[in-house]
């Protein structure tokens, strides 16, 4: 079992997301994360889907996705051959000034920004590889995480990415 990241170039029509996610539902595959946004080509969107599965399952998924009429291109972004990012917003509980200082110091070492601050909390913003965010979030639980929101991974292939 590996996490696979698939990047899809799709037509920007209503129903495309349902069709794509329905393909996963029909085959009992859980989508770990999903991002959708417009891209450089007019009328097309890019979806980044992260799924857990074996290499052979991935192969089947890739073919089924290619069969969808509105999917223009399917790109398998294998680890190491793509730049992968996740954005995290986290509201962390702050009890006193020393805790605040400690949080800010740790945030700085991870490259996280303070997006907002109140007397009893700070909102941290971190864009990084998903594993880095995992570690940072784990660390912050020590102080008390009130809310954690992640966008899910988005990724861009380096030259050697496999295109189908």
């Amino acid at each position: 079992m590996h996490t696979h990241i698939i990047s899809l170039l799709v037509e920007d029509h209503p129903g495309v997301l349902t069709r794509m996610s329905g393909m996963f539902t029909m085959r009992g595959i859980n989508i770990k994360s999903l991002t959708v946004s417009p891209c450089e080509k007019e009328g097309l969107s890019r979806m980044t889907v992260a799924i857990d599965g074996s290499e052979s399952e991935l192969e089947k998924v890739r073919k089924q996705l290619s069969n969808l009429i509105e999917v223009v291109k399917v790109i398998d972004l294998t680890a190491g051959k793509a730049i992968v990012r996740d954005l995290c917003l986290m509201k962390v509980h702050v009890k006193d000034a020393s805790m605040r200082a400690e949080i800010m110091q740790l945030a700085e070492s991870y490259g996280a920004k303070i997006a907002d601050a109140t007397l009893d909390s700070v909102v941290l913003e971190l864009t990084a590889e998903p594993q880095t965010i995992d570690r940072f979030a784990e660390l912050m639980t020590h102080f008390g995480v009130k809310q954690l929101i992640r966008t899910g991974v988005t990724a861009i292939g380096l030259n050697a990415s496999r295109e189908r």
Binding site: E11, P14, G15, T18, K63, N67, L68, I69, E70, V72
Partner: protein
Amino acid sequence: MLGPKLKGAEIVVEELKAEGVEVAFGIPGGVLLDLYEVLYAEDSIRHILMRHEQCAAHAADGYARVSGKTGVCIATSGPGATNLVTGLANANMDSVPVVALTGQVPTAAIGSNAFQEASTFTITMPVSKHNFLVKRAEDLPKVIHNAFHIASTGRQGVVLIDLPKDVLATKVAVELHPKETFPGYKPNLKPNRVQLKKAVDVLVNAERPLILAGGGVISAGATAELRLLAEYLGAPVVTTLLGKGAIPETHPFSLGMAGMHGRIYANRAINECDALLAVGTRFSDRLTGWLLDQFAPEATLIHIDIDAAEINKNLPVDIPIQGDAKLALEELSKMLEKRRVVDTGASLWVQRIKAMHAACEDCIKDVYRAGTSVSDMLIKELNRILDEDVIVTTEVGQCQMFAAHYYLAKKPRMFISSGGLGTMGFGFPAAIGAKVAAPDRRVVDIAGDGSFLMTCQDLATCRENDIPVVVCIFHNRYLGMVRQWQELFFGKRYSHTGLGFTPDFVKLAEAFDCYGERVEKPDELKEAVQNAFESGKPAVIDMIVGPEDKVLPMIPPGGGILGMIGTEQCTPLEELGPVRVFGVPQAC
């Protein structure tokens, strides 16, 4: 260039005509009034009013399977569309090109739970190759052109177009007959030559080559190419249910249908072969059985399929070849011809296959062989009575497997059955579609009492539109196939498979002003069938059969292709040449 202003419904009909549509099976409704207003004055499209939307979809399906053209069905919004779903799922599962048009509530009312509203677009997504919800009349030309393009090319399938009432009623100026397609839809037909060469190497060097033909051979129009290749190679041919007719089953190289309810010899050949060329099949569990180590364990597996997603899906393949079956088989034959390997038919393998073929042929000809059930006798009689130009459709269950076993398909597109979905009630409306597609041919539906009762109301359609199909009912007052399983695997506890009361099918036919006749003994069948054909009317032949007749042999659930039960009627394998068993035979 924009044309004059047309109503959406007029654009739809213009585009249907441009796609060559001659027939549509449908039922109108409130939101389709504009479309039917246009059809009222349209002479070039024959509209056949069905009595249930499921039958409209099955009729379009049967029409497409027989004609090779795309079938068209029409249903209104809400219940019309939901009734259509079973028929669409059936066609899509068997890769049959069908375009469905459904009415929808006006765009402004979508999502408001309006009268007769259902989310047809989302409901039909998993049972279609593609579907559209048209929001603007301007999009109609492109949508309809692409619907037919998508349904009929690549791996064929169902495309549904949902048409809101206001889209059909609005007048717009559009450019008709656009050629624009979708950038993400470019099915590849051309097989890879390197892969084909590899396949030739394997086939030439094989001692026991075998061809497995699926429905894809028929939909690709590749039956002549398949036969030629089989003869070049000296390779016998086994088929799937949908592959019946890919090679004449009277051909000495034909071993008939393989799989769960297939012939024992066909399954043995799959076990024994050392090279398996599978064409246009998806290796469904009904073909392979469940113990996959018995399925061609010694063979190099070559798989030709138009759909890349089918390759390596159910079985690991040694030589995958994605592409059109006709092109691929043509190329293979050419390459073989160059190498001058024309099998003389003298090999042990071919001799054994011919012996197997002959054993089956003897069994089928021997109608009243000792120990034969009434059902077996009747289907063997039908095989004898019906000539090669009769189109046979089947319902689903025992009647279907009797037909698959004993009715020999001699030509492609002449044996029509619900394969993947196994839809009871399919055969009769499919026969209607078949008869409309080929009015000069006789059409017979091989039915069961359970199945026929699911769609028999469309006798009215046959009567009204003069569509004289003949329904032959295996009347056992049971849901026979499930009963058979209960008998064999659930200790004869016939839970809710007994129908108890069944109607008098002769009177039922007569109530619809159709011809009806009862057959109490198999030797009465020939005359009854003749009477039915000669009546010129739609007809029902009520064949009384043994309530506990079974369709055998079969692979029990969980078994493999070596583990068939109920083979007592078959000539023992030992008498047909040296028996070799590969893989692990397991008792079931």
